[in-house]
């Protein structure tokens, strides 16, 4: 299919294609690249337009030694990590059940899972805030983890249903023939096959929690309790703008996610749209 146009495109069209894609790529890459370059400039040059001027790692040493960056990072890893593990763990069997069985209550459950995914945080944030306040869980990672599960659980269930759907039903049938009950089939046969799907689901749940802003901004106060999304806000406020530290922090936050993402993205789209189109 892809060879269809090969050699038939006029040179002019080819130039136009490359020019357009090049411009789009520059627009896509530039903000990220610019932050990377800024992070390497000493503070007094942070706002210059020179691409590189006296490159230094000063912003990074400042960040690691004189700011709370490491505790924010640890908070974010803790919150996002536990949310992911719990979310996948709680949702896995449900994803399997709605993928394989028809049972009374399935339709309402599917609708609930779908609708909760489009819930605006605005509807839950106040009651959850009050609940956490009552329980003394504000400013605690546990409070944020519980809150993030409201996003992660429905999402993981949908996405895993999509992945379980791609595993042929014959495998379940063979398990049943061999005398496994549905739990055994799920645990011994399907789960091992669905590992890539679980990994992708987990990864998505992780970056969702990693990048969440609203709950984190509202629930966590006090410099050392913040997550990365809250911490980054402290560098650039109405009164201060420490662009150097902000850009260095951005780079450290973005690099691991970006590398992993590039490898996983093909599966991410497949999972998202699979979960979303099956009603």
């Amino acid at each position: 299919m892809t060879t269809r146009t090969r050699g038939r495109r006029a040179p002019l069209a080819s130039v136009g294609l490359h020019a357009t894609l090049l411009v789009a790529s520059v627009v896509a890459v530039f903000p990220v690249l610019w932050i990377l370059l800024t992070s390497l400039k000493p503070a007094q040059h942070a706002i210059t337009t020179d691409f590189v001027k006296e490159p230094t790692l000063g912003n990074y040493t400042y960040l690691l030694e004189s700011s709370h960056f490491l505790s924010w990072f640890a908070n974010s890893v803790l919150v996002a990590g536990v949310t992911t593990v719990l979310g996948v763990f709680i949702a896995a069997t449900t994803g399997y059940a709605v993928s394989r069985f028809k049972f009374p209550g399935m339709k309402p459950l599917m609708w609930t899972l779908l609708i909760t995914q489009m819930f605006p945080m605005a509807i839950l944030i106040v009651p959850l805030y009050n609940l956490m306040g009552d329980l003394g869980l504000l400013n605690q990672p546990v409070g944020l983890i519980i809150t993030y599960l409201t996003i992660a659980v429905p999402f993981c269930a949908w996405m895993m249903k999509g992945f379980f759907d791609t595993i042929p039903i014959e495998i379940d049938e063979s398990g049943r023939v061999d005398g496994l009950n549905p739990f055994g089939t799920f645990w011994r046969l399907i789960l091992p096959l669905a590992k890539p799907g679980l990994a992708v689901t987990g990864f998505y749940a992780f970056i969702t929690a990693w990048g969440e802003v609203a709950y984190a901004s509202a629930f966590m106060v006090g410099e050392e309790n913040l997550t990365l999304a809250g911490g980054l806000q402290t560098f650039v406020t109405q009164y201060t703008s420490n662009w150097g530290a902000m850009s260095a922090a951005s780079v450290l936050i973005a690099i691991p996610a970006a590398i992993f993402f590039v490898f996983a993205q093909r599966h991410l789209v497949a999972g998202m749209t699979a979960g979303a189109t099956k009603g």
Binding site: A24, K102, F119, P120, I123, G133, P182, S241, I253, F261
Partner: protein, 351 residues
């Protein structure tokens, strides 16, 4: 149902060979599923039979049902209740140290709704939220479609372009928003410096209501295009090449091929990504909050940031008003989803 939708998913996944099998497997599955689901509950014996047939399915979904009930269902009910009270930060129950203070807020009926709906602010926010959502989704979709079409050809450097174009999706959103804030900075941002080099005076990107609206839309489009592009590219790759060959034989022009083969082929994926993108944009809190904080003034405030502002920025914190906004937002989204679904049904789309 299953066969049809899973085929559209196969298109979405852009992985037709593997998914062709799945579609077949699925249609077989629902066949057998219908048999087991056939015995409807009737009376006590029916209930026992249903339990015997379905107990494992019910057991498997129990964890999710419990968790959803406790951490979504209960807060949702409380949220609706709070919107009917005069709760604010001074009268809700709270724990300070070891001291527990009981709640003293009162039920006020629909007063909050009357107050919000009769305030012109609501219509202003709603209007801007709709403009914001429609602008973002339509621009993102158009750009995503154009780029996907370009990338769906065979040429040197395709993989590199694809990688570069996906980058905005790979970086955590809040980081990108800060990067853009840096670019948009009025005095020191690179955008104004470039304009300055071209002899154009500085643009108050984030300090002028109109420019700020332009800026938030730009950033959101930048963030959203990669997802659109990748999803649509998957859709394009699942359209059989023979269709294009046949059309070319019949003398169809490039535009006609796009209009009559590409667009219909992308229908299923498009419907999904437009729905997702609309909901995401409507609820897009981080871009607005981190880029402009709803400002300057309140010019870029959308409904969700307004709800957040009521509860966490204004003083005293007005929890009841925030809950009211929250309920209204949810109601609007539900109406949208129902209308969307109905219009799809009317066009014969099974969803």
């Amino acid at each position: 149902m299953a066969a049809h939708t899973s085929q559209s998913v196969a298109k979405a996944a852009g992985d037709d060979v593997e998914h062709g099998d799945v579609a077949r497997g699925l249609s077989r599955r629902t066949g057998s599923g219908n048999r087991t689901g056939g015995n409807r509950t009737g009376g006590r014996g029916g209930l026992r039979r249903a339990l015997a047939t379905h107990w494992y399915a019910w057991a498997m979904v129990t964890p999710v049902v419990l968790v959803l009930g406790v951490i979504i269902g209960w807060p949702l009910v409380r949220g609706v209740y709070l919107s009917l009270t005069d709760a604010n930060e001074r009268n809700v129950s709270r724990t300070i140290g070891v001291r527990h203070i009981e709640a003293t807020y009162e039920f006020v009926g629909l007063d909050n709704y009357a107050a919000v709906l009769s305030d012109p602010v609501f219509l202003q926010r709603l209007a801007w939220t709709v403009v914001w959502t429609v602008a973002c989704v339509s621009i993102t979709f158009t750009l995503g479609l154009a780029l996907a079409n370009m990338l769906n050809r065979d040429f040197k450097g395709r993989a590199a372009y694809r990688m570069a174009l996906i980058l905005p999706w790979a970086v955590p959103g809040f980081v990108s928003v800060f990067a853009w804030r840096f670019l948009f900075n009025r005095d020191n941002g690179i955008l104004n410096k470039i304009l300055d080099g071209g002899g154009i005076s500085a643009v108050p990107w984030l300090d002028d209501p109109t420019w700020a609206k332009f800026a938030v839309i730009t950033v959101n489009v930048w963030l959203g295009v990669p997802f659109m592009m990748v999803a649509l590219l998957g859709g394009l790759q699942s359209i059989p090449g023979e269709l294009y060959e046949a059309a070319e034989m019949d003398g169809a022009s490039a535009w006609q091929r796009f209009r009559h083969i590409t667009l219909p082929g992308l229908r299923a994926v498009s419907m999904t990504v437009i729905l997702l993108s609309t909901i995401w944009t409507f609820n897009m809190f981080p871009v607005i909050f981190l880029l402009t904080r709803g400002g300057p003034g309140d010019s870029t405030e959308i409904l969700v940031t307004q709800a957040f502002r009521e509860a966490f920025i204004t003083s005293p914190r007005d929890f009841a008003a925030s809950a009211t906004w929250g309920v209204l937002i949810l109601a609007l989204l539900m109406i949208f989803a129902l209308v969307y679904r109905r219009s799809l049904r009317k066009q014969g789309e099974v969803w």
